[in-house]
């Protein structure tokens, strides 16, 4: 399995084998990896189930494909809503989590203990439970400086999803800071940098590289978790799919095609992120 061959027609296969050997050598065994082939399988499941459903349907009914295409604009709007929730929750959670992560290494024991507690609490709470908490505990509108701001359901859901993101980002940041060799702190101190300067100019810039892959992983997980918002009543893609299915008369043969369709969308969105993460991990691993 050297990846060398005399026959030109075997070259692609030889290269694939060499690539697999290299990867296996890295981890010591065959590693399951998400590839475009899995996306193709998803599409195959979708087509087959749609075909089977179509075969079972009567003569006068619409074809599955036309039903799916008919509802695609609406479902796509719902999907964009999911993505919007994921962006906002990630942005808010990252900002708060970065602060929390830096506070976890504070020299003040109270700050350190408090931020550790908050991180552990939100990290070990089920995301759905946090969502429910936020839906029922947050008011439906707030008054700030005499201005009344309504809080629609999706904002409360975004906040609820931002909380576990905050906790995970806090751990990512803390882990990255603690992975910087202590020699960096020592030499910075010897040069009379104060703690704030050391953190902002020396430690944190070195952390950014290390934090990127786990942070992107977290984003992919968050994107898929946005469908939890359907459980608390937000009108995103899962809720809309349910409504579409009941609008089509509750036909059970439509279930698999539609949910595979949604699965495919999520796959098409998250797959490039996963590939980019793998590439970034490899890129940074070689440098350090």
């Amino acid at each position: 399995m050297s990846g060398d061959t005399d026959l030109p027609v075997l070259l692609p296969a030889a290269r694939r084998l060499a690539e697999r050997v290299r990867r296996e050598r890295e981890v010591g065994g065959p590693l399951p990896r998400l590839t475009a082939r899995h996306g193709v399988w998803l599409a195959v499941i979708l087509v087959f189930s749609a075909g089977a459903a179509g075969a079972q349907a009567g003569v006068g009914q619409e074809s599955i494909l036309s039903i799916m295409l008919k509802w695609t604009p609406l479902l796509f709007k719902g999907f964009i809503f999911n993505l919007a929730i994921s962006f906002l929750a990630m942005a808010g959670g990252t900002a708060a989590g970065a602060l929390l992560g830096v506070w976890q290494i504070s020299l003040l024991p109270l700050v350190r203990a408090g931020s550790w507690l908050v991180t552990q609490f939100f990290r070990n709470a089920p995301w759905l439970v946090l969502l429910f908490f936020c839906m029922f505990l947050l008011p439906f509108q707030v008054r700030i400086f005499g201005v009344v701001i309504p809080l629609p359901d999706w904002i409360k859901a975004t906040f609820g999803l931002a909380l576990p993101v905050m906790a995970n980002v806090s751990e990512i940041v803390r882990g990255a800071i603690q992975s910087i060799p202590s020699g960096q702190w020592e030499s910075a101190e010897s040069l009379a940098f104060n703690r704030r300067q050391t953190l902002t100019m020396i430690i944190l810039p070195q952390c950014v590289k290390r934090m990127l892959p786990p942070w992107m992983n977290l984003y992919a997980i968050l994107t898929m978790a946005t469908v939890l918002a359907s459980v608390v009543g937000v009108s995103e893609v899962m809720t809309l799919t349910g409504q579409v299915l009941s609008a089509e008369g509750g036909r059970t043969d439509l279930l698999i095609p539609f949910y595979s369709y949604i699965l495919l969308w999520f796959f098409i969105y998250c797959y490039p992120i996963a590939r980019l993460t793998v590439r970034l991990e490899r890129h940074f691993a070689v440098k350090t």
Binding site: E189, I202, P205
Partner: protein, 252 residues
């Protein structure tokens, strides 16, 4: 522990008196006393674990002490009211692992501290940084990142970086221990130039030849105490204590 005494050049620039340091239950320094006059080169040798590196780290307050006193230019180092940053502007340190900032070029590494900490004019600092890198024989390497430099080159950038702060005392913690023999010479030549210009240097080193040639005073530590000390000629030729004799016999 006296706080501040007005310091004059006839007093030791670094005065260490009966310093004790424990890490938990392990006592690393068991009463160490040392005096360094301005312009002197002091070499501290000894087996690993004898407390040499800890002693250096106590001098610039990287490590607190349990008992005793350290005066740098008359300033008590372990005074809780002391501004550690002011002390560290006077005492520079170079480490065994270089500890350069990997995300900055060699020039930026050298410039960062004077610009940020001392708040000096950027153009002046840049000119001085170029001069310092030229002095350590790294002309042309200013835009290189530490990852692109060899060990010896990185160590010389580290020395230039400490010198940029214009310290009065330089501490060298086994700076050549991680280098291969060819590059060791480059670094030692740089340190020798520094010493000949009159910088007060405290070196923890295993380079006996270098120590013999350059040191004004030698100290041998073992298990947290200074066993023996003296001028290098006498120290190497006629060690008095059996532990010193054993150590020198092993390495020479």
């Amino acid at each position: 522990m006296t706080a501040t005494q007005t310091w004059t050049a006839d007093q030791p620039i670094v005065h260490i008196a009966d310093v004790h340091k424990s890490f938990g239950v392990v006592e690393v320094l068991k009463g160490v006393s040392l005096d360094v006059m301005k312009g002197e080169v002091i070499c501290i040798i000894g087996p690993s674990g004898s407390g040499k590196s800890t002693l250096l780290r106590c001098i610039n307050a990287l490590v607190p002490i349990n008992k005793g006193s350290i005066l740098v230019e008359g300033q008590e180092v372990h005074d809780p009211k002391l501004n550690k940053l002011e002390l560290r502007k006077k005492v520079g340190m170079v480490f065994q692992q270089y500890n350069l900032f990997p995300h900055k070029t060699a020039l930026q590494n050298v410039m960062m501290a004077p610009v940020t900490v001392l708040k000096q004019n950027k153009a002046e600092v840049e000119a001085r940084a170029y001069a310092l890198l030229k002095k350590v024989r790294l002309e042309g390497k200013e835009p290189s990142y530490p990852g692109e430099l060899s060990g010896g080159q990185q160590q010389r950038v580290a020395i230039a970086r400490s010198l940029a702060m214009n310290p009065d005392v330089m501490l060298f913690d086994e700076v050549t221990a991680a280098l291969d023999p060819e590059t060791v010479k480059e670094v030692l030549v740089t340190i020798r130039d520094l010493a000949e210009e009159g910088m007060t240097c405290l070196l923890v080193t295993h380079e006996m030849g270098f120590a013999r040639e350059l040191a004004d005073h030698m100290y041998f530590t073992d298990r947290g105490v200074i066993v023996e000390h003296g001028p290098p000629k006498e120290f190497f030729a006629h060690p008095r204590d059996p532990r010193t004799q054993q150590f020198l016999g092993q390495i020479l």
